[in-house]
C-alpha cells in the first residue's frame, strides 16, 4: 500500500532533477574535465587547437632526479678548492642543459642538496616551485590537523562547563569562524608587520624587551608558521562546536557512575569522555584535513607564495597557472594531484580509524 502511494517516477525525477542537473553540470562535469584537461595542452583562450599530450603535464610537475656531483679534480687527481678551502664542483647546468649523457636531467633544476664526503648529492626537480608547494601544503596539513583538532577539543571541554555566562564565551570563541578568511588574513598581515608591528610589540612587552622583533611574513623560516598559527586561530571555533555536540551526546549517567567510582578528572576523560568521542574525532580529522588542503586565501592575501617560495601551496599554484598564466591544463593537473592526495588521505584515515572487530 505504502509503496504504491509513494511510487512516482515522474514526480520523483521532476523534483530531484534541478538539483541533480546543477550538480552534474557544475561539480561532476568539471571534475571529469580536470582529468581530461590534464592530459592536453588546453589553454583558456588559444588560436591553436588543443592537443592530447599524454602524461606530459604530470611529468613536468612531478619529475625528479637524483644526482651526485663529484668535485673538480686537477691533473694530478687532487680535489680543486677555492681560496676559502671550499670544494669546487662543476656547474650543475653542464648536466641539465642539452647534455646527451644525462637525458634524465634535461631541464631540471636543483631542489635541494647535501654534502656527503667529498661529493655533493643533489635532488633535482622538473618544477621546483611545485615541489615546494607540495611539501608546504603537506606540512600545513600535518601541523594544522592535529593541533587544531586538539585545541578545539580543549576549548570544547572548557566551554562544556556549567557556568553562568558560558554561552557568551562560546559565542566569542566561535566569532572568527563567521569572519571572512580574507578579512582575517589582511588583519593578521598587519598584526605580523615587521619591526613595530602589533605582535612584535606585544611579545616585547610580555618579555620586558627581551624579544627581538621578527619579520614574521618576510622571513622564509617563520612565514609558513605564522600562516599556520593564524589559520588555527580562525578555524578552531568551527571544530570546537563539532566536538561540543559530540560531548553532549555522552550520557550524564556515565559521568555520575565515574564520580561514584571516585575516578579522577583524567580518568573520567580517558575512560568516559574520549571513548564517547570516537566518531566525532574521526569526522573532525577528516573535515580539518580536507579544509587544510584547500588553503588559498591566506597565501593570496598575505604572502603571494613568498618569501623564496616558502609559502607556496597547491591551490595557489593551480590558481597562478590556470588563471594567472591561463594555462588550464597545468592548473587542472595540479587540481587532479590535489584531489588524489585528498582522496588517499581520507581513505587512509577511514581505514586507520575503522572499527576493529
Amino acid at each position: 500500500m505504502a509503496s504504491k502511494l509513494t511510487r512516482s517516477n515522474r514526480a520523483g525525477w521532476l523534483m530531484a532533477s534541478p538539483g541533480i542537473a546543477l550538480i552534474a553540470a557544475f561539480i561532476i562535469l568539471p571534475f571529469f574535465l580536470a582529468f581530461t584537461f590534464s592530459l592536453t595542452n588546453q589553454r583558456l583562450a588559444s588560436p591553436n587547437p588543443t592537443k592530447y599530450v599524454g602524461f606530459e603535464n604530470y611529468r613536468d610537475l612531478l619529475g625528479l632526479a637524483y644526482f651526485t656531483l663529484e668535485p673538480e679534480r686537477d691533473d694530478a687527481g687532487a680535489v680543486v678548492r677555492s681560496a676559502d678551502g671550499d670544494i669546487k664542483y662543476p656547474r650543475l647546468r653542464n648536466f641539465t642543459r642539452n647534455n646527451p649523457d644525462y637525458p634524465n636531467l634535461q631541464g631540471k633544476r636543483e631542489w635541494f642538496s647535501w654534502q656527503s664526503g667529498e661529493n655533493r648529492k643533489v635532488v633535482l626537480a622538473s618544477d621546483v616551485v611545485f615541489m615546494k608547494a607540495l611539501v608546504n601544503t603537506i606540512t600545513f596539513v600535518v601541523v594544522v590537523a592535529p593541533v587544531q583538532a586538539g585545541l578545539a577539543l580543549i576549548l570544547a571541554l572548557l566551554i562544556n562547563q556549567k557556568l553562568r555566562g558560558i554561552s557568551l564565551f562560546r559565542a566569542v570563541y566561535f566569532m572568527p569562524v563567521v569572519v571572512s578568511i580574507v578579512v582575517v588574513s589582511l588583519l593578521w598581515r598587519f598584526i605580523y608587520s615587521p619591526g613595530d608591528g602589533l605582535l612584535n610589540n606585544l611579545l616585547s612587552a610580555l618579555t620586558f624587551g627581551a624579544f627581538t622583533p621578527q619579520d614574521w611574513l618576510g622571513n622564509p623560516s617563520t612565514a609558513l608558521g605564522s600562516i599556520i598559527a593564524m589559520s588555527i586561530w580562525q578555524g578552531v571555533g568551527f571544530h570546537m562546536v563539532i566536538w561540543l555536540s559530540g560531548l553532549q551526546t555522552i550520557s550524564p549517567t556515565l559521568y555520575e557512575a565515574a564520580q561514584i567510582e571516585g575516578s579522577s578528572k583524567w580518568q573520567t576523560f580517558r575512560y568516559v569522555t574520549w571513548p564517547g568521542l570516537r566518531n566525532t574525532a574521526i569526522l573532525i580529522l577528516i573535515v580539518i584535513t580536507m579544509q587544510a588542503f584547500a588553503l588559498f586565501a591566506q597565501i593570496e592575501v598575505m604572502t603571494q607564495g613568498g618569501p623564496l617560495d616558502s609559502t607556496q601551496v597547491l591551490v595557489f599554484q593551480a590558481f597562478e597557472r590556470g588563471y594567472g598564466k591561463q594555462d588550464i591544463s597545468g592548473g587542472s593537473t595540479i587540481s587532479v594531484i590535489l584531489f588524489i592526495i585528498v582522496l588517499s588521505v581520507s581513505l587512509l584515515q577511514r581505514w586507520l580509524t575503522r572499527e576493529k572487530k
Binding site: 514526480a11 520523483g12 561539480i27 588546453q42 572548557l158 557556568l163 562546536v241 593570496e300
Partner: protein, 294 residues
C-alpha cells in the same frame, strides 16, 4: 571552619575558571577589536598606537574620516549590493532546489534513486578548489540566452557567481537527514486524501522544516558571502564585484592606507558579526549539524 575553607576554595577555583575563559576570549577578540578601533584613527596614530593598549581603545584623534575616504576610493555601495544580491539569490535558490531534491530522495520512490543518491554522496569528497580551474574554462565558453539572442561566455556576470553554487551535496544531504525523521504517516495520509506531491512539499513538509532551512541557509550564506577564489577569477568588471574582491582597491596601493583598509574591513564584517551574534545559537547549531554526517 572547614566549610569556610572549602567555600573559599570554590570561590578561587571559580575565579580561575573565569580567568582562563576570559584570557581565551581576549585571544579571539583582540584582532577584531583592533580592526574596529583602528578604523577610527588617522594612519599615523594607528601605526604609533600599536606599542600600547591604546591600539584597542577609541582614544586620540577619533573620527569617521577613514570611512569617508574609503567610500571615495572605491564604490563600496556597489560591492556591498553585489555581495548581498549574489548571496541572497543563491541562498533562496539553494533552499528551493535542494529541499525539492531532498524531498524526492526521502518520500518518493523512483527508478535510479539509490544510484543517484550514492553519486551525490560521492561528490561530497570533491573540494571546490579542485574543480575551479576547469569550471573557469567552462564559464568562459558557456552559452546564455540574453536580451540580444544567444551570447557566449559567463565571465563578468552575476550568473557565474550564482548558478554553480545553487546545488551541492551537503545541502541536499542536510534536507535528506531532516526529512527522514519526519513521520511518514503524515505524508501517506495526505496522499490518501489525494494531495499532489507539490502540495505535500509546500504545505505539509516545508512548514515543518524551519530548523533545517535555517541550517542550510546559514551555511550557504557564510560560504557565499566569504567566497574569494572564484570571484577573483571570474569577475573583473567593477560593477559586479563582490566585497571580498573589492579589497584589491585598498591593498593594491603602493602605500597601503591602513586606516581605510580597517574601515572597509569593519564595514564588510560588522553586519555579518551582528547577524551572527543575534542568531548565535542557530549559527552554532548549524555548524554542529554538519558534524552529524559520517
Amino acid at each position: 571552619m572547614m566549610a569556610a575553607v572549602s567555600a573559599d576554595n570554590r570561590g578561587l577555583r571559580l575565579a580561575t575558571r573565569y580567568a582562563v575563559l576570559l584570557l581565551v576570549a581576549i585571544i579571539f577578540v583582540f584582532p577584531l577589536l583592533f580592526m574596529a578601533m583602528s578604523s577610527l584613527k588617522p594612519d599615523q596614530q594607528l601605526l604609533s598606537d600599536t606599542d600600547s593598549l591604546r591600539a584597542f581603545l577609541p582614544v586620540g584623534d577619533i573620527s569617521f574620516n577613514n570611512y569617508f575616504a574609503a567610500f571615495e576610493r572605491a564604490p563600496i555601495g556597489v560591492f556591498v549590493f553585489n555581495s548581498v544580491l549574489v548571496t541572497g539569490i543563491t541562498v533562496v535558490l539553494t533552499i528551493l532546489v535542494c529541499s525539492l531534491a531532498g524531498f524526492a530522495f526521502v518520500f518518493l520512490d523512483w527508478t535510479g534513486r539509490g544510484v543517484v543518491f550514492s553519486i551525490l554522496l560521492a561528490t561530497l569528497i570533491i573540494p571546490y578548489e579542485t574543480i575551479f580551474i576547469p569550471l573557469l574554462l567552462m564559464a568562459s565558453q558557456l552559452p546564455w540566452i540574453g536580451t540580444e539572442g544567444i551570447e557566449i561566455g559567463w565571465l563578468n556576470t552575476y550568473r557565474v557567481q550564482i548558478i554553480p553554487f545553487i546545488a551541492d551535496g551537503l545541502s541536499i544531504f542536510l534536507f535528506v537527514q531532516f526529512f527522514k525523521d519526519l513521520p511518514r504517516e503524515l505524508i501517506e495520509a495526505s496522499r490518501v486524501e489525494g494531495a499532489s506531491w507539490w502540495f505535500i512539499y509546500r504545505r505539509v513538509v516545508m512548514p515543518l522544516s524551519g530548523p533545517v532551512i535555517a541550517t542550510a541557509a546559514i551555511l550557504k550564506f557564510l560560504f557565499m558571502y566569504n567566497q574569494y577564489l572564484w570571484p577573483l577569477m571570474v569577475v573583473q568588471a567593477e560593477e559586479i564585484r563582490p566585497v571580498m574582491v573589492g579589497l584589491g582597491y585598498f591593498t593594491d596601493q603602493l602605500n597601503v592606507p591602513w586606516g581605510e583598509v580597517m574601515a572597509y574591513l569593519t564595514i564588510i564584517t560588522i553586519p555579518v558579526l551582528a547577524f551572527y551574534l543575534s542568531l548565535q545559537r542557530v549559527f552554532i547549531a548549524s555548524v554542529a549539524s554538519t558534524g552529524v554526517k559520517g
